[in-house]
């Protein structure tokens, strides 16, 4: 069995892995070991069971069968798998987006009385983007139109998604030229699935091109609507302080943990845990109060807007239960391990599924309905309170880190100049001058194949040391939150130029932009940087790169594809699911770069990932005619000299006219 410190680099998880071992419970890592050896054909993407004549397997060594029963070759089979992953990923995020639009509609029509429009300014902004009239209209009428319009884009059959217009002009033209401008969100998903049916699209190039189009329908469609509408309903994030890691669980309060991806219920649970009646009720059970924390992206949603602590990311979910301190875990959608069911039975934790789309055999289901949102939330919290007295052994690792989260693209714009001078100009200037070498997005999941969080943390540290500003979402952000990289003090890990920028703006070297569906915020930031001027006129001109070092979900494939399709060099860590199709590998890398300026590559080695990204960034700098990155030129800003001089303030020789002291 693998040692805990090789399974994770999170000290809290490491301690809990030991507890779990003592308790004799099986966790993801154990099940992964039980799966060894995993199917080699499946790993390479060479096993096809799309029809009932299979499974067909292509021999990767060229000795055995090279074609499936229908004649599909390795590239076709690999491409179809990739397409299906892309379609499922896009459907997950987009269906999430649809859910948000339906909530907005319900709120606007008065069917969801517990929801209000928290950010009317953003509503107006989105309405304007969608060409919905706003003048002299009631907020709820505008909201209704925005929701209806968003929903219409899911069912749209022809034309182009409206948000395509948010991309730089040149990008839009490229999409049109290569036929990847998305037409309708659902249409792209359905059509892509259709392509993968037996005897349908059987050319890797057209399958992969359609995959990119579907991914773009997610990034510039479903996901982008999700982000916008979530902001409208719950407020656009602004920076706030919060805690990361298991230490945020409370020994003496009822611990309610939200887990999954949607904010609709968790926002109500947040209201419920502050309900005086419920708090009083908790006290009758011997608790001192009710403590809300979260896991995965539901946690990211409540973190970004309310500062609710995140106790961990994907691979931490089981460990949270092994603390024995989680009284209720409320899950909504996506990335919820079935294993939580049996595991919660071993402890006192009340596990509650809530989404009509997510049931787990044997697990209590309290179906969430928007009409009675708060009432249901209270009911769920009460279940947690009722579980509190059942606690047995409790072990909460004393591990927390402070972080600053809540960076929306709107706030970044504000942060760089305030109410009147806000713009992306200082960011572009920093890259142009070479103070920042470039920018990178680091996002994605945990993957049991890797030591949990290690790649996220090490890659981010390496990037910021090289003066690359990092933006983050999802599990990746949560990983870095646990290691001080999302704290402004994390600037001490940064190179001299990035440190100057961090000190100037007061930001951490890595910025938390939200949940994985909020990767669209990164798209918006990139578009604004490209249109601000000085860094070319398209996203693919920017000196930047994207990483998903520990990805595992199909959503990650969709995200990676929409970034690549938007012009970003996107590096996925870990094993490549397309390794078996050499032409597919080449297409997603070289061909895509020739056509759309971005590329998608699967690279195992962490050092190689960073090297390739930095080379790419330097090449983009050179293409823009920017000065060669030279960290020695920067670093003279900041408080240190002043503080050093002020240390001598009480001395007789104190002289403010000189920095030469001591």
């Amino acid at each position: 069995m693998t040692e805990p410190q090789k399974r994770t680099c999170d000290p809290a998880v490491e301690q809990l892995l030991r507890i779990a071992r003592e308790d004799g419970v099986q966790l993801a890592w154990d099940r992964w070991e039980a799966q060894q050896p995993q199917c080699g054909f499946g790993q390479l993407g060479l096993c096809c069971r799309n029809c009932n004549q299979g499974p067909c397997r292509i021999d990767p060594f060229g000795e055995g069968a090279q074609l499936g029963v229908c004649g599909a070759n390795a590239d076709t089979i690999v491409a179809r798998h990739f397409a299906r992953m892309c379609a499922v990923g896009a459907s997950a995020h987009s269906d999430h987006g649809r859910g948000m639009a339906l909530t907005l509609l319900a709120a606007a029509e008065g069917h969801a009385p517990d929801y209000t429009i928290k950010d009317p300014r953003k509503l107006l902004e989105v309405a304007t983007l969608l060409s919905i009239p706003t003048k002299d209209r009631e907020v709820k009428d505008i909201a209704k139109d925005v929701a209806s319009r968003a929903l219409a884009e899911f069912g749209q059959q022809t034309g182009e998604l409206t948000y395509v217009s948010r991309a730089p002009k040149k990008r839009q033209e490229l999409w049109r030229k290569f036929g990847v401008s998305p037409r309708g969100i659902d249409r792209e998903v359905v059509e892509l699935l259709h392509r993968t049916h037996v005897g349908n699209d059987q050319w890797f190039e057209s399958i992969l091109t359609a995959s990119i189009r579907t991914a773009l329908a997610d990034g510039w469609g479903g996901s982008m609507f999700s982000t916008d509408i979530t902001d409208i309903l719950f407020g656009s994030p602004v920076p706030l302080k919060a805690k990361a890691n298991m230490g945020a669980l409370s020994t003496d309060q009822v611990n309610i943990v939200v887990h999954g991806h949607e904010p609709t219920l968790s926002e109500m649970i947040l209201v419920a845990v502050n309900d005086p009646e419920l708090i009083a009720y908790a006290k009758t059970k011997g608790a001192t109060g009710i403590n809300l924390t979260g896991l995965c992206c539901t946690a990211n949603e409540t973190l970004m807007r309310q500062g609710v602590a995140t106790i961990g990311n994907f691979l931490s979910q089981e460990l949270a239960i092994t603390t024995g301190a989680v009284d209720a875990m409320v899950v909504d959608i996506q990335c919820i391990m079935q294993a939580l069911g049996p595991l919660s039975d071993r402890y006192h934790t009340k596990l509650i599924t809530t989404s009509p789309k997510v049931h787990i055999e044997g697990v209590t289901h309290v179906e969430f309905e928007e009409e009675h949102a708060l009432e249901i939330a209270k009911q769920i919290v009460k279940m947690g309170v009722d579980a509190f007295p059942n606690r047995r052994r409790v072990f909460i690792p004393n591990e927390t880190c402070d972080m600053v989260a809540g960076f929306s693209h709107e706030y970044i714009n504000y942060a760089l100049g305030g109410m009147y001078r806000g713009s992306f100009r200082p960011l572009n200037d920093a890259i142009i001058s070479g103070r920042l070498r470039g920018a990178a997005g680091v996002v994605g999941c945990n993957n049991v194949n890797d030591c949990q969080d290690e790649s996220h943390v090490e890659i981010v540290k390496e990037l910021i040391k090289n003066d690359v500003l990092v933006v983050m979402t999802g599990c990746s952000a949560q990983a870095c939150g646990k290691f001080n990289l999302l704290s402004p003090e994390g600037a001490k890990f940064a190179g001299p130029g990035l440190r100057e920028i961090c000190e100037t703006v007061g930001i951490p070297p890595a910025l938390h932009l939200g949940s994985c569906v909020d990767n669209t915020r990164i798209l918006t930031v990139l578009s604004q940087m490209a249109t601000e001027g000085g860094l070319g006129d398209d996203i693919s001109d920017l000196p930047g790169a994207g990483f998903a070092p520990e990805w595992m979900s199909e959503k990650a494939i969709s995200i990676g594809s929409y970034f690549a399709g938007s012009g970003v060099y996107t590096i996925m860590g870990g094993r490549s699911p397309i390794e078996g199709g050499k032409n597919c590998v080449r297409f997603l890398s070289e061909t895509l770069e020739e056509r759309l300026g971005g590329k998608l590559e699967f690279i195992v080695d962490r050092g190689e990932q960073v090297d390739k990204a930095l080379k790419h960034i330097d090449a983009k700098r050179a293409a823009l005619g920017l000065p060669v990155y030279d960290p020695k030129r920067f670093g003279a800003s900041g408080d240190s000299t002043m503080i050093k001089v002020l240390d001598h303030k009480d001395e007789e020789t104190f002289n403010l006219y000189s920095a030469k002291v001591g």
């Binding site: 200082p426 000190e503 000189s658």
Partner: protein, 760 residues
């Protein structure tokens, strides 16, 4: 920002807001909410508040709303640990500080305590050129307070043509008096406006300069605003009004105004001595305008760019500056400030023993300080420039014919003639008067030398201080040689100067000069719009008013008064791709209106399609636009069937119901408004003055300043118009400041406009 700076600036902003709020409540309690608040002679209310929030504050009560804006921009100071971002928040607090500061200064005006009174018996020499000069100002008993619109406009042309590259707001107190003077001299030599405010422990650079006898006022480019930090709001107000006056921006267009300033107004802050919370807060306000701060003490540096064009905050600890002495350190400090703001400066080395720069142009030499004078009541002085045969001119040759002034009695007078001979392959006879007119500016640039007049009414004084430093007659030649080469090198290859003090020779040359003056007068009179094929454009002001184009013709000079047709022609020779381009008139569409196909085409392109057609001679039909530098504004008074002409110098109310400052808002910014027009004062004398609308006889009201300062010329116009008593029939502010007063006056005098065809 840095967290240290952010902490102090945000703290300062919060403190000053509380102070302003309490002060306002007290003031309202004591004087009432309806008590009027205003800065003198401005149409822009409280300019920072107007520019950034659009609020027109005219009463104490209005300030409550402004302070509410200030409050909404405040933020808490960043934490000691795990702080939240602070750059945007600090910049907002900076804006809040500006609003609070302007509120406090406005309340002080209401109490009558601003402009700040100052008691000084030393050698401080206030110039008479303060805002609304009064007895207190001229006797040095008060500081300047805000700059008024009149001065802002008159500086406009210098700001745009590069003669005045920018302004430096000095806040605090220099390390020593010697350093203070050196810093200011360095800035003056580069013609940078020096705005003084603030103090360190009660002592201000204003005190330092007073002690050193430095002349302060508009003429010397050194404006003492006040000895507290709050008076730094006046330079900021000056900048805000630049956007409103020249940039065509509307009140409340905060972002546009701030970005306009970042791009076009080259200003920076020099923080001398210890920087306190309020100074940090005010500097944060200035950074919103793109104005960086350079400090002579240790403060945190903020080097990344973006909000400002270059670095935000530079620390140059004075003692650490490399230099042989404090004077050299002061020079380097100023140089760094200019670099940080990207101020481009052309310095002409003039080899004379006194400081030289256009900031010295306005210096006066009083009789008691005078070593010698040439011209004036007791002697004769003239200057004459002519082109000569290429080979007959020896470049750089300076000849003195006659005695120097070293033997002349102190405070005495001498005759003198300055004859400049120039040669150049591109030189034309037409350029002679253009170049000759420059002698006034060139000689005035020397510190301690005063030059007034031109041609044979020249009057030059040399101060005792300048004479003691070794200034002699040959230095007039040195100045002219250096400057003609520097400024007119494109048309002048060789310059030779002869100074005549020998009576006989001087008189002989005076006769030649007079003959030349007469010839030039006739040539100018013959030059008409129909006698030339080309007019000239002037788009110099587009750096400030992006869509404005002046069309300069022989019979209509530029509205700033600084460029006539010949000037433009010479300027085009000097810089063929510059702001003065020849405009082929093309076909005349309407001779009366003065509309030409070529002119319209040019104006459309050069105004970026903002202006489609322009008439040269009408105020009613497509009048020419204006930037904001105009000397006069003409406006139709429908009731009188005529126009009124108000001059920049006239602060009084006019029959249009507006003062010059208010009218200027309508006339400027490159907007075409029928019935309103900015123009140069000499255009009044042109035969083509509003000729399409009936000509000069339409003038029913005119500022007395114009009537008096151009009396002879205007009398000649009246003569030409066949109505010798016409000027007397035109009302002025002494007899009518509204239409009700104007009409009876015109009827009583029998003004011809009343009988002219209706304007509408």
């Amino acid at each position: 920002m840095s967290r240290y700076v952010a902490t102090r600036a945000i703290r300062g902003a919060n403190q000053i807001y509380v102070e302003a709020d309490q002060m306002l409540k007290k003031a309202i309690a004591e004087m009432g909410a309806d008590k009027e608040v205003a800065f003198p002679n401005t149409a822009y209310y409280l300019p920072v508040i107007l520019g950034l929030t659009g609020r027109q504050v005219s009463k104490l009560g209005d300030l409550a709303q402004a302070l509410e804006d200030a409050r909404s921009l405040l933020h808490p100071v960043p934490g000691e640990k795990v702080w939240l971002p602070y750059l945007g928040e600090t910049l907002d607090c900076g804006v809040s500080t500006l609003i609070s500061a302007e509120t406090i200064e406005a309340i002080r005006f209401a109490y009558g305590t601003e402009p700040q009174k100052i008691i000084w018996d030393g050698s401080y020499m206030p110039t008479s050129s303060f805002t609304s000069p009064d007895a207190q100002a001229t006797s040095g008993k008060r500081l300047n307070g805000p700059i008024d619109d009149i001065q802002l406009r008159s500086w406009g042309i210098q700001l745009v043509d590069g003669r005045m590259p920018g302004f430096c707001a000095i806040v605090g107190c220099a390390k020593s008096n010697e350093v203070a003077v050196q810093i200011v001299r360095e800035l003056q030599q580069r013609s940078i406006l020096v705005f003084l405010c603030g103090n360190v422990n009660g002592r201000s650079i204003i005190h330092q300069l007073m002690e050193e006898g430095v002349e302060m006022g508009y003429d010397t480019y050194i404006i003492p605003f006040g000895t507290d930090t709050l008076s730094a709001i006046y330079p900021i107000g000056f900048a805000t009004r630049s956007g409103l006056t020249f940039g065509g921006l509307k009140p409340g267009q905060a972002r546009e105004n701030l970005v306009y300033n970042k791009a076009r107004v080259f200003a920076f802050v020099l923080a001398l001595g210890e920087v306190d919370d309020l100074k940090y807060a005010a500097a944060a306000g200035a950074i919103n305008y793109g104005f960086p701060t350079v400090a002579d003490t240790v403060i945190p540096q903020i080097l990344p760019t973006g909000v400002t064009s270059y670095e935000h905050v530079i620390s140059m600890p004075f003692d650490d500056i490399e230099g042989k002495d404090d004077l050299e350190r002061a020079t380097k400090l100023v140089q760094r400030g200019l670099e940080v703001r990207g101020v481009k400066i052309k310095i002409t080395e003039v080899p004379i023993p006194v400081p030289y720069g256009s900031a010295f142009e306005g210096e006066r030499v009083r009789k008691a300080d005078m070593r010698i004078e040439f011209g004036g009541k007791n002697s004769r002085c003239f200057e004459y420039l002519h082109m000569a045969d290429y080979d007959s001119v020896e470049d750089g040759k300076i000849t003195i014919v006659g005695p120097g002034f070293d033997t002349a009695p102190v405070e005495g007078a001498m005759d003198m003639g300055i004859v400049v001979e120039v040669a150049g392959r591109k030189m034309q006879e037409d350029f002679e008067p253009v170049l000759e007119r420059q002698i006034h500016y060139f000689i005035n640039g020397a510190s301690g030398i005063q030059h007034i007049g031109q041609r044979d009414i020249t009057w030059i004084r040399v101060s005792k201080a300048a004479a003691e430093k070794g200034f002699g007659l040959e230095h007039f030649g040195k100045i002219l040689h250096a400057r003609f080469h520097a400024d007119f090198g494109a048309i002048v290859d060789k310059v030779q100067v002869t100074i005549y003090t020998d009576k006989a020779q001087m008189e002989a040359w005076l006769a030649k000069a007079r003959a030349a003056y007469e010839k030039r007068n006739r040539r100018l009179a013959d030059m008409t719009d129909t006698s030339v094929e080309e007019f000239y454009s002037c788009t110099l002001c587009q750096s400030f008013a992006p869509n404005h184009v002046c069309v300069v013709s022989p019979e209509r000079l530029g509205l700033c008064g600084a460029y006539n047709w010949l000037d433009c022609k010479a300027s085009h020779q000097i810089n063929p791709t510059g702001p003065n381009q020849p405009i082929k008139k093309g076909a005349c569409e309407d001779a009366s209106l003065g509309t030409y196909t070529g002119v319209n085409e040019f104006v459309r392109t050069a105004s970026h399609q903002a202006v489609q057609d322009v008439s040269m001679y009408s105020i009613m039909v497509n009048p020419m636009t204006a930037c904001g530098c105009f000397e006069c504004i003409a406006m139709v008074i429908p009731e009188a069937n005529g126009v009124m002409v108000v001059s920049r110098e006239d602060p009084s109310m006019t029959p249009a119901g507006m003062t010059f400052s208010t009218l200027a808002g309508v006339a400027g910014g490159g907007l075409q408004t029928p019935g309103v027009m900015g123009h140069g004062k000499y255009y009044l004398l042109s035969k083509k003055y509003l000729s399409a609308d009936g000509g000069f006889k339409r003038v029913v009201w005119m500022s007395s300043f114009l009537k008096e300062s151009m009396k002879e010329e205007l009398d000649a116009v009246a003569e030409r118009e066949g109505d010798p008593g016409l000027i007397d029939k035109i009302a002025d502010e002494r007899n009518a400041t509204d239409v009700e007063g104007l009409l009876p006056y015109l009827e009583e005098k029998g003004h011809p406009a009343l009988a002219m065809p209706p304007l509408f």
